[in-house]
């Protein structure tokens, strides 16, 4: 995993912004935030509601902010 992800999991998620998530950079982060996913925990919530199904989550991420395969994998 990337250094960004290691930094992210090294401490409690708390109120970290969505841009703190690995694979989510400025443009994607802004699109997610515009739709209410401005915090990392809200994105985690969506992953859990999708029953931690990676394929569904990636598809949702692509539909919601246009994340490409690598970004959603990260």
């Amino acid at each position: 995993t990337s250094q960004k992800h290691r930094d992210f999991v090294a401490e409690p998620m708390g109120e970290k912004p969505v841009g703190a998530l690995a694979g989510i950079r400025d443009i994607l982060g802004k699109k997610l935030a515009d739709q209410g996913f401005d915090k990392a925990y809200v994105v985690l919530g969506q992953f859990l509601v999708l029953r931690k199904d990676e394929e569904n989550f990636r598809e949702w991420l692509k539909d919601t902010c246009g994340a490409n395969a690598k970004q959603s994998r990260d």
């Binding site: 739709q35 209410g36 996913f37 809200v42 969506q46 509601v49």
Partner: protein, 43 residues
């Protein structure tokens, strides 16, 4: 309540914001709740 189902997510969010109703993102598992909150506000 039927009319609210026809709203797009953005239209629904615009009403939630207009009425200052606390809300998160519109996803499958939250949409019904927010439609109801807008309906309750408008009626």
């Amino acid at each position: 309540m039927e009319e609210y189902k026809g709203l797009t997510d953005n239209e629904l969010i615009a009403r939630l914001k207009k009425y200052s109703i606390p809300h998160g993102p519109i996803v499958g598992s939250t949409r019904k709740l927010y439609e109801k909150k807008v309906y309750e506000y408008e009626t």
